[in-house]
Symmetry: C2
Subunit: 389 residues, 2 copies
């Protein structure tokens, strides 16, 4: 991309872009990758991200495992490792040790590891970003665990703590459906359920970074017991555990059942293709629950796009999407449906680790000691974008 | 306010502020109202809005009446008129005629009417602002009524069509709780129920201007029939009609009942102060419904402030607020409650007409023929605000 194209895309002046690019070239973040002939003028320099400048780490601490993924500076995934967590009663120290072991395993895998510019760490539940604290994590009943300080003793790199809903939304904004639209909801269906919200092209976090806590919206008053202690929450129906429960309600001896909840979901997906009646009905009921809950969500936000992501959506895919779309079409308001696209996530790779690495990249570029003008330029670009809307 | 204070408040440079102020002075929108001694420097000119420069009209087309209010340029309410609408089968032409009659009545009321710079018109339901079309209004089953063109034949002034939820939110942002916070929800409880949404200091409209359609969220599956045809919607419980229904369920011969729904709500409020058991129980149940629905809404948006407004909240006031707060405290997530303020609207006067007049003022100031630099400056100010967050 040339400086001219960047100026056109961001709404910044050519002079501003040239200044910012000079700084990024000097810091080795960009490089000149060639020249393009321009009609009647000087050839324009083509710029590219210097992918080898350093690496970024994305870490997804899920309820039952930790996934650590290494990215180059262009956010291309290089390699990853997944390590299991004990199923019950896991301590913060065990999680920290598992994360550190994952990062070390990735580093050991190469002779000359690139410098790590930062790591994004996503933990479920409520996260206080500035302090790097996991304020509350319902699965482990954690409260106020200072994840960043604990990790900092093991990992010598800048660390950015956040929540998987936010990471999935950012991955979708940078690399998925959010490239095309400004107002976007990204529903994540896995052990936990929630929604990432992009408003006017920016991630919406709310007052305490807990916006998008949709999983504990009441869907069925007096319904299934949710792990939060309430009855009938959305999460109790459309999470991995919700799917297991639906299979069990249909046939408590179903061979689809398995001690590993995630396995049940993939088994349902496989059995659906073979016409297994329990699998077919499980998908239909899940789509019904998801569609009813989503219709209300969509009426409130009136987004351009709703993305379904997470393990449940990845496994159940098109059949779930198609049936959910039917329920939404029947239940949402006409105004909501008018401009709505409903789709599966098309982020390449794993959205949570990719989004976590994106947070690390943002952190790196916001480091004013290194990039004073660039940090100011990014804010100006955001402002310029607002100016044209 | 001096130019220096404006620069400090907006983050714009003094030179930019001076340019914009010069243009606004020339157009007669601002005037110099005096001088303030500044320590050791030249006295600073104090600026004020030239309230007499022209008038703005705010129009609230509710289900059963039309309220027209006249404001000066400083958005101080001057006088208003309310005209009833026929209760059933009202035609677009009747509404248009009623609006025009209201505006004419206000004009006739004075010997030298000020020039009208614009009128904001709020109609319930889905509104397409650019075209000035009421796309769908559930109460009258209107579809695609070109309100602005119809009105333009009667009213020789710039007209801005919008929706009462949006107007209430803007009134709150300019004159109420939104002066202090960036993330705000404004719940409106009247014949219709919905929420106005402010995100990072800006009104959030969604893809088709229908964000905030909260009234038809399912609260009680299989519950009361809603006028939208669905069962158990929030609106069926906490609108004026919902209150009437609750009174009727408690005592179908209650003297609080009246053919006029709005009267029932004010009677309940009065009877509550006298300890009338039906009134007491009606408020308790309404707070329960409202609290349950609001808890889920708050978990999703995680706002700093939730404002309760509209006729129902105006009438039932503190008792409703207090009991709703209790239900929310019991049901919302701790992260949601941590930073939340719940309050009644403290906008002076009528938020919908005030917000409508604000839309007219925004339209006037965005008129590039008159205010090229000012329109650009307002966008820059918005951008500068983003820059500091």
């Amino acid at each position: 991309m040339s400086r001219q194209e960047i100026a056109a895309a961001t709404g910044l002046s050519f002079a501003t872009v040239a200044n910012l690019v000079a700084e990024l070239l000097e810091a080795g973040v960009l490089l000149e990758s060639g020249h393009e002939e321009s009609k009647g003028g000087r050839p324009r320099a083509q710029l590219a991200v210097n992918a080898q400048r350093g690496a970024l780490v994305g870490i997804d601490v899920a309820e039952t495992s930790v996934r650590v993924e290494l990215f180059d500076l262009a956010l291309t995934a290089l390699r990853s490792v997944s390590l299991p967590l004990p199923q019950a009663g896991v301590s913060p120290e065990e999680v920290i040790a598992t994360i550190a072991a994952g990062v070390e395993a990735l580093m050991d895998d190469t002779n000359s590891p690139p410098p790590i510019l930062g790591a994004g760490v996503c933990v479920p539940g409520l996260v206080e970003r500035e302090g790097g604290v996991s304020v509350f994590s319902p699965y482990w009943s954690w409260r106020d665990v200072p994840v960043r300080s604990l990790l900092a003793e093991r990992l010598p790199m800048p660390l950015y703590l956040d929540n998987p809903l936010k990471a999935s939304a950012v991955a979708e904004m940078w690399f998925g459906a959010g490239r095309e639209v400004e107002n976007l909801l990204v529903v994540t269906l896995r052990s936990g359920v929630g929604v990432g919200i992009a408003v006017d092209g920016a991630l919406y976090r709310g007052a305490t970074n807990s916006a998008g806590e949709w999983g504990h919206t009441c869907l069925v008053p007096g319904g299934r017991e949710c792990r939060c202690g309430r009855l009938g929450c959305v999460e109790a129906y459309v999470s991995t555990r919700g799917i297991v429960e639906t299979v069990r309600e249909l046939d408590e001896r179903s061979p689809l059942l398995d001690p590993e909840e995630a396995t049940v979901v993939s088994s349902v997906a496989r059995a659906w293709t073979e016409g297994n009646p329990v699998a077919v009905e499980t998908v239909t009921r899940t789509a019904r629950y998801l569609g009813l809950a989503s219709a209300d969500l969509l009426n409130l936000f009136n987004p351009q796009t709703l993305v379904l992501g997470g393990w449940v959506a990845d496994c159940l895919g098109e059949p779930l999407l198609r049936q959910t779309r039917e329920v939404i079409a029947e239940r949402a308001l006409p105004a909501t449906l008018q401009a709505l696209t409903l789709q599966l996530s098309n982020v390449p790779g794993q959205p949570v680790t990719l989004g976590a690495a994106t947070f690390a990249l943002e952190g790196f570029l916001n480091d004013r000691a290194t990039f004073g003008a660039v940090a100011a330029g990014r804010r100006a670009a955001r402002a310029a974008k607002g100016r044209t809307s």
